[in-house]
Symmetry: C2
Subunit: 312 residues, 2 copies
């Protein structure tokens, strides 16, 4: 009788592990380091070991564990094959099969970390109560995840929800990390917001609270909240890029809600206001009323989404 | 023992009806007029009557019919509620429930016509053999449908796959039929191609095979095939808008294949070549190799997709 499950979120420095009851009740969580040496060959064995140890502590047998869900920082194709994780040193790697073997056949489901975080927010976070959720994660880069009828839209090549690489500016001269030019990520990530702030400050003739040498994304939002003109213009620009991209996304997948997460989303309502202003004027009529909400699970979203893959 | 099913495609002037075996084998098809008088109140009863008549002809009992799938020209929400069909005079209308009652409880599934045609092409047409298909239908307008793991992505408001209303030009001054400006439909529909041809011809100083007073979308492609400079530029422009939009769509849903259908797609390879040229330079790297194929079922796609909704 399977009454427990594990949710594992593999990051570049730590692996977050969570034990849940099979009805979704959270029991406990812990972290282990991500050992990326030797092309990350220890990562999966380390996870198997920590799960086995936890099972032992709780006196759980293999049959009492419904499954292990795991989110990894790279594209995941059907059947749980990871198609390279640069941060971990992995190439093409059948994570689901290997981890399942190491756990004596316990069911393992693997997903891309951004997609898995979106599932977590849909299940227990900002998208709770909705079946169709688009999550946009604004961190160092811009990630995304799309949940349709409560399931991850993984995509045929593991690129479902790669909305940071929607082109939003066809006049960009500087390439994105992906090689294209004008990607959403270049304007709405923390990095992109800082870059824009520096550009605006360089061209600015008025006083600003922002210091071009040390400005962070948080500084920009803090200054914008006080009405600082340069900061407001940077926030509006990021909001316009996000609002336009969101209007495109909703015309394609028409979700119930859009959840905004990641470090930049800590800015809160001022960010949502900037996005929704431009969203409304760009959205297809049937999608105009789709609400935007802030993510609530923070760094735990991946662990929640991971375990959700093996519940149901 | 359910051994048959019906696929029904409701158009503005005729209703296409198909009888299939439950294993998907086509048996026969016929048409009845779409009686749009009195806000289309006869449409569903007429369909019930023609199905009952067909069942009688084949000596089929209610239990021998697995279901009736029906595609309608309007947004369809969960549970088979149609949220208005302008062409038929319908407002909010619970099509699935009404038709099922008229057919003594036979299962009925309803979908938007563009989505249902996409399902048809995925099942038996240009997308055959693939689980994840984006279909772009280039007719008087631009429609679309998205199939994920063999199922229609209908959307929370029935607007899934409304890719004709992705904004591809932020400098447009003329509004689209939807009220927005710069929608894909304004450039890649038959209407949009004619409009562009007239603009190009008006500004053109060289000789062209195209007559600005009578030019059709077909004329443009025919002339482009002979190398007519004005026509080539119109085709390239439509290809660019489609290629850029397709790159955006694939970064969101990452399908196995994109199928191009509708009247404009009869242009064939020259259209695919124009699209793929601009697609490749705009697509996210993991999606660059996604193939483009022509639709093959023509006006029968809706009937095939409709019946597919009740098979499985």
């Amino acid at each position: 009788m399977a009454s427990y499950a594990y949710g594992i979120d593999v990051g570049g420095t730590t692996v977050k592990c969570g034990l849940f009851q099979a009805d979704g009740t959270y029991v406990e969580s812990w972290e282990i380091p991500t050992r990326t040496v030797d092309n990350g060959k220890n990562v999966i064995p380390d996870i198997a070991e920590t799960i086995k140890k936890n099972m032992e502590e709780h006196g759980l047998t293999r049959k009492e564990v419904a499954g292990v869900g795991i989110g990894v920082p790279g594209p995941v194709k059907e059947g749980g094959v990871v198609d390279g994780c640069v941060n971990l040193g992995w190439g093409v790697y059948h994570v689901a099969a290997e981890l399942s073997v190491l756990l004596d056949g316990i069911r393992v489901e693997v997903g891309n970390d951004a997609n898995v975080a979106a599932l977590g927010e849909q299940w227990r976070g900002g998208g709770q109560g909705y079946r169709n959720v688009v999550m946009i994660t604004l961190g160092t880069g811009v990630g995304g995840g799309i949940i349709i009828n409560g399931k991850i839209l993984a995509g045929a090549h593991g690129a479902g929800g790669e909305i940071g690489h929607i082109t939003v500016n066809r006049n960009e001269s500087i390439p994105c990390n992906c090689g294209k030019k004008g990607c959403l990520e270049q304007y709405a990530s923390a990095t992109g917001i800082v870059r824009r702030a520096k550009e605006v400050l360089a061209a600015n003739t008025k006083a600003s609270l922002l210091n071009p040498d040390t400005v962070t994304s948080k500084d920009v939002f803090d200054a914008a909240k006080t009405g600082d003109e340069a900061a407001v213009s940077v926030v509006q620009f990021a909001g316009r890029m996000l609002g336009q991209a969101a209007a495109t996304i909703t015309a394609v997948v028409d979700p119930d809600v859009i959840v905004i997460g990641g470090g930049v989303s800590k800015a809160g309502q001022i960010l949502l206001d900037a996005i929704t202003k431009y969203y409304a004027s760009n959205a297809f009529k049937a999608c105009k009323e789709i609400p935007f909400k802030l993510a609530v699970l923070g760094n735990n979203a991946g662990m929640y989404g991971a375990v959700k893959m093996v519940l149901n």
